[in-house]
C-alpha cells in the first residue's frame, strides 16, 4: 500500500474544503486529478475487483513490457482476460513501468492475450491509463506505429466482447490501441484526448503553459466525451478516486462489470464483433 505522501495530493488540495461541488471542477482540475499519484492504477483495480488474477507475460517476439500488465482473472464465477496500462508510484516502479508509456512489445503482448481470450471465449476487460505510447528511439525502431495499427486492426474483429475503462489518462493512439471496445467507460475524473493539453497549447499558441485553456478547449473530460458519444458510461467519483480508499469504487465497478458480462452473454461472439464495428463506424 502506498504510504502517506509528504506532499498533499491533487485531490487533497482540491478538496480540502469539505463540500466542494464536483461540477465546479474545471477540465484542467480533472486532468490533474487523472494524473494524480494517489489515484489508483490498473493493478489496484484488478486486485480489488477480481476474485483471482494470474498474470501472463511477454510478446513472444522481443520482451515483456512492464507498462502493460495482462492475464486471466475471475469474477462472479466467470473467467475474463484483463489487460491494463500500469504506472508506477516510486522511481523504481516507474523504471519498470516506464511511467505507463507502453512500447511496441507491450501492445504486441496485449493483442496476443486478446487473441488468446478470443480463442477460449473469454470476454476482455482493458484498463486504460497512459500519457501516451512511449516516445523514444527504441520504440520507433521496433515499430511503435505498426504495433498500434495492428492492435486497432485486430481488435476491430475480435469475436468476443471487449470493455475498456479509462481510469486515468487516455493519451492518444497509445490509449486507443486498448480501447477499440464494445463499450468504453470513463471514470469521472479521467481524460481521453488526441494529444496532451501541453502539446495542444504549444502547437496552437506556441506556449506550452496555457494548459488550462487548452484543456477547456479540447473536450477531453468524461462528461464532454459522453456528450460526443465517444464514451458510453461515466462512473461517478463522489470523491476523487484514491488508492487508499477504493472499496466503494471497486464495489461499483465490480457490479457494473458483472452487468456488462451478463448483457453480453446474450449475444453471439460474431454479433459482438459486428456491434463493435458499428460503434466505431459512426464516427
Amino acid at each position: 500500500m502506498a504510504g502517506k505522501s509528504q506532499k498533499e495530493s491533487v485531490a487533497d488540495e482540491l478538496f480540502n474544503v469539505e463540500f466542494v461541488d464536483r461540477d465546479e471542477l474545471t477540465p484542467w482540475d480533472r486532468v490533474l486529478l487523472a494524473r494524480d499519484k494517489e489515484r489508483p492504477y490498473a493493478l489496484d483495480y484488478i486486485n480489488g475487483i477480481f476474485d483471482e488474477f494470474m498474470e501472463l507475460h511477454g510478446d513472444r517476439a522481443f520482451g515483456d513490457d512492464g507498462a502493460i500488465v495482462g492475464g486471466i482473472a475471475s469474477i462472479d464465477g466467470k473467467y475474463v482476460t484483463v489487460i491494463g496500462q500500469q504506472k508506477g508510484r516510486s522511481i523504481k516502479q516507474n523504471i519498470k513501468r516506464n511511467f505507463g508509456m507502453p512500447s511496441p512489445e507491450g501492445y504486441r503482448k496485449a493483442i496476443r492475450l486478446m487473441k488468446q481470450a478470443e480463442k477460449f471465449h473469454r470476454p476482455i476487460i482493458c484498463f486504460v491509463d497512459t500519457p501516451g505510447a512511449f516516445c523514444g528511439m527504441e520504440a520507433e525502431e521496433r515499430g511503435q506505429g505498426q504495433a498500434i495499427a495492428n492492435n486497432l486492426y485486430e481488435m476491430s474483429s475480435l469475436e468476443t466482447p471487449v470493455l475498456s475503462i479509462v481510469i486515468g489518462e487516455g493519451g492518444s493512439g497509445g490509449a486507443l490501441a486498448m480501447a477499440v471496445a464494445n463499450e468504453v467507460w470513463m471514470l469521472e475524473n479521467s481524460m481521453y484526448s488526441v494529444l496532451s493539453p501541453e502539446g495542444f497549447a504549444s502547437i496552437l499558441w506556441k506556449d506550452g503553459d496555457r494548459t488550462a485553456q487548452a484543456a477547456e478547449m479540447m473536450k477531453c473530460t468524461s462528461k464532454e466525451l459522453e456528450k460526443l458519444q465517444i464514451v458510453d458510461k461515466v462512473i461517478d467519483e463522489p470523491k476523487p478516486a484514491d488508492v487508499k480508499d477504493m472499496e466503494s469504487l471497486n464495489f461499483v465497478l465490480k457490479q457494473e462489470i458483472i452487468n456488462f458480462l451478463k448483457r453480453y452473454e446474450k449475444i453471439t461472439p460474431k454479433q459482438a464483433a459486428e456491434e463493435r464495428y458499428e460503434r466505431f463506424r459512426r464516427f
Binding site: M137, E140, N150, S156, G173, C220
Partner: protein, 298 residues
C-alpha cells in the same frame, strides 16, 4: 500571359535568398511547390532554378540533382494513373467541427481555395496500366495532410466501396497525423479506418500502402502500416512520434537517416523502396501478381 508568369519569377527570390545566405533557414516557398503555375522553380536541395516542365516530365524529380519535389495529390494522381481514368469519389463532405474550434471552418475554406482540394485526401477509382483499382492520395499541403473526420470518412468509404466492388486499394499516405482541431473525434478515425481495412482484407482483396514524405502520427499508427504490401519513396520520413518530439523528449540529436524509408526497410517495417519512375510498373506488377486482370480482359 507569359509576361505575367515572368512577373512572379523566382529568380527574384533567388537574389533575395543570396543576400540572406548567412541564414540558411527554410525557405517557405521552396517546400511548398505548387504545380504548374510558374514557369520556373527552385530546387530546395541544389538551389538550381529549373524549368517546371522539365521537372514534371522527369516525374517531379530535379533534373540537376535528383531531388524529389514534394508531390501534391493532384500531381501524384496524374503521374500514377492511366490518363483520363480517374473518377473522384465523395467530394464535399463537411466536418461537424466537434470542438467548435475558433476559425476552423474559415481555415478550411482558405486551404480549399489555395489547394484545389476539398480535404487532405482525394479518393476514387482508376486504372494503372490497365488494372482497375481504387486509389487514395493524401496531400501534405492541406493542413499537413492531417486526419480529421472527413479524411477518416473518405478513406473508410474508399475501403468499403472497394470491398463491395471487389477491387484492390492503393493508398499514398502522407500526413502529420491526427487533426488536432477535431480532438478525440480525430483519434476515433484511426479505429474507424483500421477496421475498414480489416474487412477489405478479410474479403481477400489487396491493399498496397505507399508511404511518402512525411507519414507520421495517427496515420502511421493506423492504415499506413496495414498494407499487404508496404512501399515507400526514397528518404521519406516515416514514424509514429515525429523526430522533433523525440529529440525534445530524449534530449539528444537523432542519428542521420533515423526514421527514413531506408531505416524502416532495415528494421523490417517496409517491404521495399520504389523510385518515382518505377511506381506504375511496380504497382501493375503487384496487382497482376495478386490475380487481378486488366480491365476488359476478364
Amino acid at each position: 500571359m507569359l509576361k505575367e508568369n515572368f512577373k512572379k519569377t523566382q529568380t527574384a527570390s533567388k537574389g533575395i535568398k543570396r543576400v540572406r545566405t548567412s541564414k540558411p533557414a527554410k525557405d517557405k516557398n521552396s517546400d511548398k511547390i505548387h504545380i504548374p503555375d510558374g514557369l520556373f522553380k527552385k530546387c530546395p536541395n541544389c538551389n538550381e532554378i529549373v524549368f517546371v516542365e522539365d521537372v514534371v516530365d522527369n516525374s517531379h524529380i530535379c533534373p540537376v540533382c535528383g531531388y524529389y519535389f514534394k508531390l501534391m495529390a493532384r500531381a501524384r494522381i496524374s503521374m500514377v494513373v492511366d490518363k483520363g481514368s480517374f473518377e473522384e469519389w465523395d467530394t464535399n463532405l463537411l466536418t461537424e467541427d466537434p470542438l467548435c474550434f475558433p476559425g476552423y471552418y474559415k481555415k478550411l475554406e482558405k486551404v480549399q481555395s489555395v489547394t484545389d482540394l476539398d480535404e487532405a485526401v482525394i479518393t476514387g477509382k482508376c486504372t494503372i496500366r490497365g488494372y482497375e483499382t481504387c486509389i487514395g492520395v493524401m496531400s501534405s499541403d492541406f493542413l499537413m495532410g492531417s486526419m480529421g473526420s472527413v479524411v477518416g470518412e473518405k478513406i473508410t468509404r474508399l475501403f468499403e466501396k472497394a470491398t463491395d466492388k471487389n477491387l484492390p486499394v492503393i493508398l499514398f499516405c502522407c500526413s502529420g497525423g491526427a487533426r488536432m482541431q477535431e480532438g478525440t473525434i480525430s483519434l476515433m478515425q484511426m479505429a474507424k479506418t483500421s477496421q475498414a481495412v480489416k474487412r477489405h482484407s478479410e474479403a481477400g482483396l489487396l491493399y498496397i500502402s505507399f508511404l511518402t514524405d512525411p507519414t507520421t502520427g495517427g496515420v502511421t499508427a493506423s492504415f499506413a502500416m496495414l498494407g499487404d504490401v508496404i512501399l515507400a519513396e526514397p528518404e521519406a520520413l516515416i514514424g509514429f512520434a515525429g523526430p522533433r518530439v523525440i529529440e525534445q523528449t530524449i534530449k539528444q540529436k537523432l542519428p542521420e537517416g533515423f526514421q527514413r524509408a531506408e531505416f524502416l526497410v532495415k528494421h523490417g517495417f517496409v517491404d521495399r523502396i520504389v523510385k518515382r519512375k518505377g511506381i506504375r510498373k511496380s504497382l501493375a506488377y503487384l496487382l497482376a501478381s495478386a490475380g487481378y486482370n486488366k480491365k476488359g480482359d476478364e
